[in-house]
């Protein structure tokens, strides 16, 4: 019974992966880039799911992790010649990790609503710092830079065409997903879920809940930062807008729409939201958030488990 | 089992007395808490002005029964009739207005409201004349002089016994037809216990019915006319208080450890 389920799951996974691989060859450029962006936002949403869906910690701070990953990559790409992909990744991840450590410290001392509000305010702190440090960060206008080459020293060097970019992102996101899946299904992941279910009881059983929460935040922050790096490389600019708490809010929206605690759900949520946004902006131009916002509210009320919520148990075994 | 059958003397012809509808009738009530089946078909009755006891061990469903009557817990099955009308689907604030007052186990006076403000939560109702309100207040101060003394003190600063009195006084402000009393003597000094007994007697004197949940057997036997015994979520036995003694095997069966 379990085996059959696993088979179905992996079959579905492979089919979707195959479709995503083939996509750049079949789609016109706009949609191709759109798809790549969906993957990146999906990664961000997945990282957020670790906290919201698995540990039960609602965070509005992901824009901080994402934004700093983005600026970290920007720093690397602007300061070194020629721009180096791996350096960008390194800078971005380190910066994101630093922020995550900062947030993690507070996460162990606050619960629920206080944690949510505090993470929100942290994103704003970083936003204000970045926005006003014009000399370092370009302030309101952000930083522009060139894409690095996809290069492994001594092996090869390719230019990042949209297609290559797409495959790179797909590769990174897929690996991230598999890694996160492995983690959530490990004993560690089980403890996280136990914390979500009943923190007091988990503590009573003897688990050092604080340590688990810290690791969860670091993990979540790292992958969010990774998404930020990918975004920077994909779009070749970094701007303070992405550190504004609205990004965190949208991330949480993807999570809720898609179904928390499923990893794939948030990715689907991101896709759903972004496609709706694309569709709505054709009809409603820049006011697309009005119908979209209303749909979101309706989903919160009537479909709280999200699009894939019903499949949560299934997707986690 | 109807009141007439219980209380009716064999020597009195049933036809000589008009059939009296019980004030409160609980009929086959089931409740769940998540998946736990808490009340498993509770049935009982309380007549006008009658003091009825509900005895049982911890956790058998006594408090839940009162909550179901008060509308704080919604039965999944069964009926609750008050003066012949179904109240089982009413929200708690309507149940209170219909004439059912609830005094919970933890007393739960409003901690940051003064004694007077606590009383006013029940006193300030539409359609009650100012004179009447003053009268009710005076009456309750007469019953509970210590509350009059402390009328501007915050509810949370009162002692346990004082809070119990406040909780009952507050309920009386609703001018209820029945008061649901959940373990009023719990945690009180013996001196206060006898005071509770007096209060219940006074309520009966006013014509207010009381459904008394307790674990204090002597008090219950003295205050109540009839007693229901609950075990595992249902009423298992029913007796007149006059027929029971403290050492009764029945008591041991339902309350013994």
């Amino acid at each position: 019974m379990n085996e059959r389920r696993l088979l179905v799951y992996w079959a579905g996974f492979t089919v979707i992966l195959a479709l995503l691989i083939v996509a750049p060859l079949a789609l016109p450029e706009f949609w191709q880039r759109f798809l790549t962006e969906i993957l990146i936002w999906g990664l961000l949403a997945m990282s957020s799911d670790i906290l919201i869906g698995y540990t039960g910690m609602v965070s509005f701070g992901h824009s901080a992790f994402f934004g700093l990953g983005m600026y970290g990559a920007a720093a690397a790409l602007v300061t070194t010649r020629p721009p180096n992909l791996w350096l960008a990744l390194a800078y971005g991840l380190i910066l994101a990790a630093a922020v995550a450590a900062f947030v993690a410290y507070f996460s162990t001392r606050l619960r629920d609503i206080y944690f949510a509000i505090t993470t929100l305010i942290f994103s704003q702190i970083f936003y204000v710092i970045i926005f006003t440090s014009t000399a370092w960060t370009g302030g309101e206008n952000g930083i522009n830079f060139r894409r690095p080459a996809f290069a492994i020293p001594f092996l090869f060097s390719i230019r990042f065409t949209p297609a290559v970019m797409h495959w790179f992102v797909l590769g990174v996101v897929t690996l991230s997903y598999l890694l996160l899946r492995r983690i959530t299904q490990s004993p560690f992941g089980m403890v996280l879920q136990s914390i979500r279910e009943n923190e007091a009881r988990t503590r009573a059983i003897g688990y050092a809940v604080e340590r688990y929460k810290i690791v969860a935040v670091m993990l979540s922050g790292l992958f969010a930062g990774l998404a930020g790096v990918l975004y920077a490389i994909q779009n070749q600019f970094a701007a303070p807008d992405f550190v504004f708490f609205l990004v965190s809010g949208e991330t949480v929206i993807y999570n809720v729409i898609g179904g928390i605690g499923t990893l794939i759900g948030p990715m689907v949520g991101a896709a759903f939201f972004l496609m709706l946004r694309e569709a709505f902006s054709r009809f409603f131009t820049e006011y697309y958030l009005i119908p979209l916002g209303m749909i979101f509210i309706a989903m919160v009320i009537f479909m709280p488990r999200g699009l894939l919520g019903f499949a949560r148990r299934w997707l986690n075994r | 089992m109807s009141i007439e059958a219980m209380v009716g003397d064999a020597s009195v012809e049933p036809l000589a007395r008009p059939a009296e509808e019980p004030l409160l009738k609980v009929d086959g009530v089931h409740t769940y808490y998540g998946k736990s089946h808490i009340l498993d078909g509770v049935s009982l009755e309380v007549g006008r002005g009658e003091v009825v006891g509900l005895l049982g061990r911890n956790g058998v469903g006594k408090s839940t029964t009162l909550k179901a009557i008060a509308g704080l817990v919604h039965p999944s099955q069964g009926q609750v009739l008050f003066e012949g009308n179904s109240i089982v689907d009413l929200p708690p604030h309507r149940v209170a207005r219909v004439g059912i007052a609830y005094v919970p186990e933890e007393r739960r006076v409003f901690p940051l409201l003064t004694v007077l403000e606590n009383l006013r939560t029940g006193l300030d109702r539409h359609g009650v004349a100012k004179a009447k309100k003053a009268e009710l207040l005076d009456k309750v101060y007469a019953y509970f002089p210590v509350l009059a003394e402390r009328r501007n003190q915050a509810g949370g600063t009162l002692s346990g016994g004082e809070q119990q009195m406040l909780a009952i006084a507050r309920a009386m402000m609703l001018e209820p037809k029945i008061i649901l009393l959940d373990e009023p003597t719990e945690g009180l000094m013996p001196r206060m216990v006898s005071q509770i007994l007096e209060i219940v007697g006074a309520l009966r004197g006013e014509g207010v019915a009381v459904l008394l949940v307790e674990q204090n057997v002597p008090l219950t036997l003295e205050a109540c006319r009839r007693i229901y015994f609950i075990e595992k979520g249902a009423v298992r036995h029913h007796a007149l208080a006059s027929e029971l003694q403290v050492n009764d095997p029945v008591i041991h069966q339902y309350l013994g450890v």
């Binding site: 505090t118 704003q124 820049e286 979101f296 | 708690p92 209170a96």
Partner: protein
């Protein structure tokens, strides 16, 4: 580095003025949180829409005070509507859902405003013109008037809560919702009314604040964040705490802007928040009686 005394005094007054408006916004927020555990993300938008209704009414009637009253009532009504449609269905569910729902509402309201009123800022004329000499500045009377009015509104709220049947109902429901119901208090209506009152207060703040800056669809966002900080620092659910915290934080920010730019002065409030959370998480200004 010497900062002249008169600048400090001027900033003190500025700090108090801003603080009073912040207090007005925050008290609505804390009232709502205290009674129904809802973090109202849309509060800033209610502030903003209040300002816009003020603009429209002012244009129609030419009277600022009528505009203030109309805006307050209109947005109070809107608040009740929002509560009934999006928050009441969520009673009993995970508190996260109310944050999300109100966040969604804020997105919708902000964009509706943008759609209806456009991106260009509108202006509300000061009802009280004229300045007085404050050291080297011509200080507008209106600013003092704002502080006074805000204080008056908060004072009225306090009186309402302290005396009067409905005030008791609200306080009882805040302290023990279940027992309030058991005492016959119509809690569902109390909750709706409180949300309406909170919304109305946000709207009033918006109208009062309108003449100081332009009225645009974004004006709510920064206020809601500062209001959250104030509510947390003041002790969630504590009215007096929020007021004290609002003034405290505004004063600190006002002083800070003697040294750094106003955009950066905002960091002061963030720092205060962090310190509060680390050392006195229940709130810096929670009165000892509680």
């Amino acid at each position: 580095m010497e900062i002249p005394l008169d600048q400090i005094l001027i900033q003190t007054i500025n700090g108090i003025v801003t603080g009073m408006i912040l207090a007005l916004v925050a008290s609505g927020l804390t009232l709502i949180f205290g009674i129904m555990d809802v973090v109202n993300f849309a509060h800033g938008e209610l502030f903003m829409l209040g300002a816009y209704v003020g603009v429209l009414t002012l244009a129609a009637t030419g009277d600022f005070w009528i505009a203030l009253v109309v805006a307050t009532l209109a947005i109070a009504l809107l608040g009740a509507l929002i509560y009934l449609t999006t928050l009441r269905p969520l009673i009993g569910r995970d508190p996260l859902t109310t944050i999300l729902a109100t966040f969604g509402v804020s997105l919708v309201l902000q964009n509706v405003a943008l759609w209806q009123f456009g991106p260009v800022a509108r202006k509300i004329e000061e009802p009280i013109t004229g300045h007085f000499s404050l050291f080297y500045l011509d200080y507008p009377w209106y600013r003092l008037a704002i502080a006074g009015l805000a204080a008056a509104i908060i004072g009225a709220l306090w009186l309402f809560l302290k005396f009067g049947t409905y005030g008791i109902w609200i306080r009882a429901t805040t302290q023990d919702r279940v027992m309030a119901q058991a005492m016959g208090i119509p809690v569902p209506w109390v909750l709706t009314a409180v949300f309406a009152i909170g919304s109305g207060m946000a709207a009033a703040s918006g109208v009062l604040f309108g003449p100081l800056v332009g009225v645009n669809s974004q004006m709510g966002t920064s206020w809601v964040l500062r209001a959250f900080i104030v509510v947390v620092v003041g002790g969630m659910g504590s009215l007096s705490g929020s007021i004290a915290a609002a003034i405290f934080i505004s004063l600190l920010e006002a002083y800070a802007s003697l040294w750094v730019s106003p955009a950066q002065a905002v960091i002061v409030s963030f720092v205060v928040l962090i310190l509060t959370l680390l050392f006195r998480p229940t709130g810096l200004f929670v009165p000892t009686a509680r």
